[in-house]
Amino acid sequence: MDFDTLILWLYGAAGAGKSAIAHTLAEICEKYGYLLATFFFWKTAAERNDVSRVVATIAYQIARAIPASRRLIETAVDADPMIFKQSVDIQLAKLIIEPIWRLHSTGVDFEASPFVIIIDGLDECEGKDIQSGLVKSLAAAFCHCPLRIRILIASRPEVYLQSTFNLPPLQPHLSRVALSNEYSAEEDIRRFLEDSFDKIKREHPLTSYIPSSWPSADVLRELTQKSSGQFIFASTTVKYAGGDPHELPTRRLDVIRCLQPPRGEEDLPYAELNSLYNHVLSNVRDIERVKHVLGILIIVKQMDKTKQMDDWFFWQPGETKACLGPLESIIGCDGIGRISIFHASLSDFLLDPSRSHEFYLCRESILSNCAAQGLRHLLQQGRAAIGVLYLPS
């Protein structure tokens, strides 16, 4: 990692563990006195998915971390009570940059000041343009700041964010860390599961009823494999298993493994995972197209390349890749157009109508449509080979 740049972009697929890293780094920075401010975007929380809160939150934390700045920031707010309705650029300038420069001009030494700002889940902020705009504004505001700021931004590698982070003016101020598929997280996930289940066994109120051998090595292996290298499945499983002090974790683990039914409709084993998938899929413009492609990938399993899909659906070259673009955090395409689903749990989600609702993939309907498409191709092949030779009698 290059800490000499202003911005460090940490990106990876949904559930890869970006937030876990951001939170841990925040704790470490806090411990050593480096942490200046944090902002954790959260898509479903109105106060945490809105960019208008970001600068105010950071300014407030700067006022607390650098007490000398407090009066200057308050003065800026008093001078313009509508400042929080202004653009991000103006808010950054008035609430943060100008106070810091004023302190600098009075001889304040920032050498021992905290300097790390952590922004997690940028892609969960409302508005793609707003997300891109925030990155550009932060870079522009802090690149010549007398306080040596370092900003960690964690997000999914959405296409529009990649474009933003690829902008030439940002390059001198940017370094990147990818939580890629090349790194095998299996061992880490297995250890995380072991530690988490040990903690449940130690701390759960019904601990005396939990066998010391729980969960078995086979179950651990099963959960590790199902995680597909992504932490979110493992963490959701553990949270659910140990999440109810009045119910045995052993039973709840069976529920989440579909070995026992949940207790009532309110008991949703994969609520967090469902929310993640629902969020990602609800951002897709043409969901029916995406469902066609996912149906072929998950149910028919005879094609896995974008070109094959384009041909199969009689689409223009590139249409499959384009329609999968918004799903970049859960589905990837490699250099030869091979499509891969990052999470094994996505199939379970899509094939369970009680979890996926409008995104549900009905196996029989998919096969039916596939048969229909196959018939169309057979006739098309004939026409291509022999011209219009046979016409219906």
Binding site: S368, A371, H377
Partner: protein, 187 residues
């Protein structure tokens, strides 16, 4: 680009998997011409595959009728009638294609063998385990034997598929080839 055989297998496996009767499939079937489909398979020398696919389509529709998915009457006559009403082109296409393939100058080999088998298998008591059998009964499934009966039943004039000298020549040629294939290793 995948070949016709790949599309055939994919289509067939999806049909076998018991698909729902979706609007998309209904639309495709309503536009399908078995005559055109036969032409596609024939030019690729895959007429066996055509009969398999055509019989699967008709079987699927028949099953849908039987299970009430197509909202048909309860009696067999009513069911056939409804099938005819919903897919008249398929039902009239099938015997037409069948008779055309059977009566052309070089008769459709698969069809000839099926008709031959349907007429004579009981008399000859041909069994699949008999390596000297006239032809491989593994290839002639129950489903396709049934289709022959249905084709004849569906024909408006109840024409029968009568074997002629040309057909016996096709059966003989096929049988000799099969015998040569079976014994080629030991000779």
């Amino acid at each position: 680009m995948p070949d016709i055989y790949w599309y055939y297998h994919l289509t067939l496996s999806c049909m076998y998997a018991g698909p729902f009767y979706t609007p998309r499939l209904r639309e495709e079937l309503s536009q399908l011409s078995l005559h055109a489909l036969y032409g596609v398979f024939e030019i690729n020398m895959l007429t066996w595959e055509f009969w398999k696919l055509a019989s699967t389509i008709i079987e699927m529709l028949h099953n849908k009728v039987s299970h009430g998915y197509l909202h048909c009457g309860a009696t067999f006559t009513n069911k056939c009638q409804n099938l005819l009403e919903q897919f008249p082109h398929l039902i009239t296409d099938l015997p037409t294609v069948c008779f055309a393939g059977f009566h052309k100058a070089d008769p459709d080999e698969t069809l000839t063998l099926l008709v031959y088998e349907a007429y004579y298998s009981q008399i000859l008591q041909v069994k699949t385990s008999n390596s000297a059998s006239a032809f491989d009964l593994h290839r002639i499934g129950h489903q396709i034997r049934g289709i022959i009966k249905r084709i004849v039943n569906l024909h408006p004039q109840r024409y029968r598929l009568e074997l002629t000298g040309q057909h016996y020549a096709v059966v003989a040629r096929h049988s000799i080839n099969e015998i040569l294939r079976v014994y080629s290793g030991s000779w």
